[in-house]
């Protein structure tokens, strides 16, 4: 375990050095992540402009849910998503061999090698927006509520990672679909909607997305004091199950890797 911590510490340093070497690139990506954060906030404000309460969620609850998604996606884009974009290239060009022969777990290396520090802007802007929203709507969560929120956001992050790994493993069989990662961004965006919305549709095809709607909604509920034990339990359970399944599926998919580009 210590070996992995040391490797990750080194990786963080290498990525930081890269940031300093390509400063213009960093600033450009920083502007980009600020713009997309702003978009999410405008998105929910426009959708709730004519609707003050939907599916038992008040306007401010839905805004907090979207901001929680922004904070989660900030972490996800910073530490994980770039690696999946690289994974698409690595598989497509047949470069996975070099990762498989290294004396370190290949899933660890492929998932955590790249860090995009500019995406932390989403996390920072999201946190500011969250504080402003909470004080604007006079919601004052207790320390326990805040800690529960942070704790469950961690589970949400692992769930997103597991879904991405599970679906990205398909690229081993179909390397030509390297744009799958683009689709995964939109799939993760489903977590901006509350699960009640899905339940209300009575459409079985959309029920498939139900686990994704727990990712940001379950932690958010703690902030406005509507925590439901069932949702918390479901998120923790789905996080554990998806993590194990994605790991097993990734290992299974590697058996079919042919190494040709």
């Amino acid at each position: 375990m210590q070996q992995y911590i040391n490797i990750y510490r080194r990786l963080l340093k290498i990525n930081f050095a890269e940031l300093l070497a390509y400063r213009a690139n960093f600033i450009s990506h920083l502007i980009s992540s600020c713009c997309w954060t702003l978009f999410q906030i405008i998105w929910i404000n426009l959708l709730t402009y004519k609707n003050q309460s939907i599916f038992g969620w008040k306007k401010e609850d839905l805004i907090i849910l979207t901001i929680s998604y922004v904070i989660l996606s900030g972490f996800h884009h910073c530490f994980l998503s770039k690696n999946f974009r690289e994974l698409a290239k690595i598989i497509d060009y047949g470069q996975l061999d070099s990762y498989l022969v290294k004396p370190v777990d290949e899933q660890f290396l492929l998932s955590l090698t790249k860090v995009e520090y500019s995406q932390l802007a989403r996390f920072l802007l999201g946190t500011v927006a969250l504080i402003v929203t909470l004080s604007k709507f006079q919601i004052y969560p207790s320390l326990i509520q805040i800690l529960s929120y942070i704790f469950l956001m961690g589970f949400g992050l692992v769930t997103i990672y597991s879904i991405w790994l599970l679906l990205s493993s398909l690229m081993i069989w179909y390397p030509q679909i390297n744009n799958l990662v683009g689709f995964l961004f939109d799939l993760t965006g489903v977590s901006r909607y509350p699960k009640e919305m899905i339940l209300k549709t009575n459409n079985y095809a959309i029920f498939f997305f139900l686990p994704i709607t727990l990712i940001a909604a379950a932690p958010s509920r703690y902030l406005f004091n509507k925590a439901i034990t069932g949702d918390t339990f479901l998120l923790v359970l789905e996080c554990g199950v998806l993590f194990i399944i994605s790991r097993l599926f990734w290992k299974f998919s590697l058996r079919f890797y042919t190494s040709a580009s």
């Binding site: 450009s28 997309w36 978009f39 426009l46 959708l47 004519k50 609707n51 030509q176 683009g182 549709t201």
Partner: protein, 264 residues
């Protein structure tokens, strides 16, 4: 004729990447489906919101999925990264067809394939969600609608090509592209119909070229305008297309002077 041959060659090429193209189509489709589900739940008990029925909303978002894949050109990344930064542009400069039309012939088949996926999906969803999409355009309105669609595509293509050409000056324009993408999504009606925006945002949106790319083609198909208004929309589309073409020419003429491509 030469342009047509290039176009047909690219048509053959896109069928090599059918699955990849389908995945590109899935992303806007999923966004649209969830927005429909959102409004279905939000409008529960109410039949309309500012004159828009649920049937209108469903049709709007499904047509949005089709329009945003068909009418939204994505030529800018290829132009910026492959042609300008990697120097591939050099091979186009000696060709007897202008760069604008070469790129147009490359890009359009992809958009047409996406449009085919969209039409298939709309037909399937009509079976699932009921007959919400009623084609009620008269012959004159249909002709004007086709003109609006063609002009919308040209505006989108010229705008995105110009965006790609900014790579002559910028090493990495991701920030600029994202900022403009966000503005285009909001004012293009990708979140909700512009008519449902707050008044001040509506006024700003109508002053930009973005509603003329996605929003007006969709609402024209929904038969929301009289013939006079359709002519006005076409007039404004010509105006924006002229501005985009002038801007494109200026960028090209200035940019090509500073372009260098090295090789052995």
């Amino acid at each position: 004729m030469r342009a047509l041959r290039i176009f047909l060659l690219h048509c053959q090429r896109i069928f090599e990447y059918r699955l990849k193209s389908f995945i590109w189509f899935l992303a806007p489709l999923m966004n649209s489906i969830f927005l429909i589900v959102f409004w279905r739940a939000a409008l529960n008990g109410k039949s309309t919101v500012t004159g828009w029925t649920m049937s209108d909303m469903t049709a709007y978002y499904l047509l949005l999925a089709v329009a945003s894949t068909f009418l939204n050109s994505h030529v800018e990344d290829g132009v910026a990264d492959e042609d300008i930064r990697q120097g591939d542009l050099a091979r186009f400069l000696l060709k007897p067809i202008s760069y604008y039309w070469i790129k147009f012939c490359e890009e359009t088949p992809y958009r047409l394939l996406q449009c085919v996926y969209g039409i298939i999906f709309v037909l399937i969803s009509t079976l699932v969600w009921g007959n919400f999409l009623k084609f009620s355009l008269s012959i004159e309105n249909t002709i004007l609608f086709i003109m609006i669609v063609v002009l919308a595509y040209f505006i989108s293509f010229t705008y995105k090509l110009s965006l790609g050409l900014t790579a002559f000056w910028f090493k990495d324009a991701k920030g600029l592209h994202s900022a403009l993408d966000v503005v285009a999504l909001i004012f293009g009606g990708a979140i909700l119909p512009i008519q449902l925006f707050p008044d001040y945002l509506q006024k700003i949106a109508y002053l930009t070229p973005f509603p003329y790319i996605i929003y007006y083609p969709i609402t024209a198909f929904q038969n929301k305008y009289s013939i006079n208004i359709l002519f006005q929309i076409i007039g404004f589309q010509f105006f924006w297309l002229s501005i985009m073409l002038i801007f494109n020419r200026v960028l090209w003429n200035k940019g090509i002077k500073i372009f260098t491509a090295a090789g052995r």
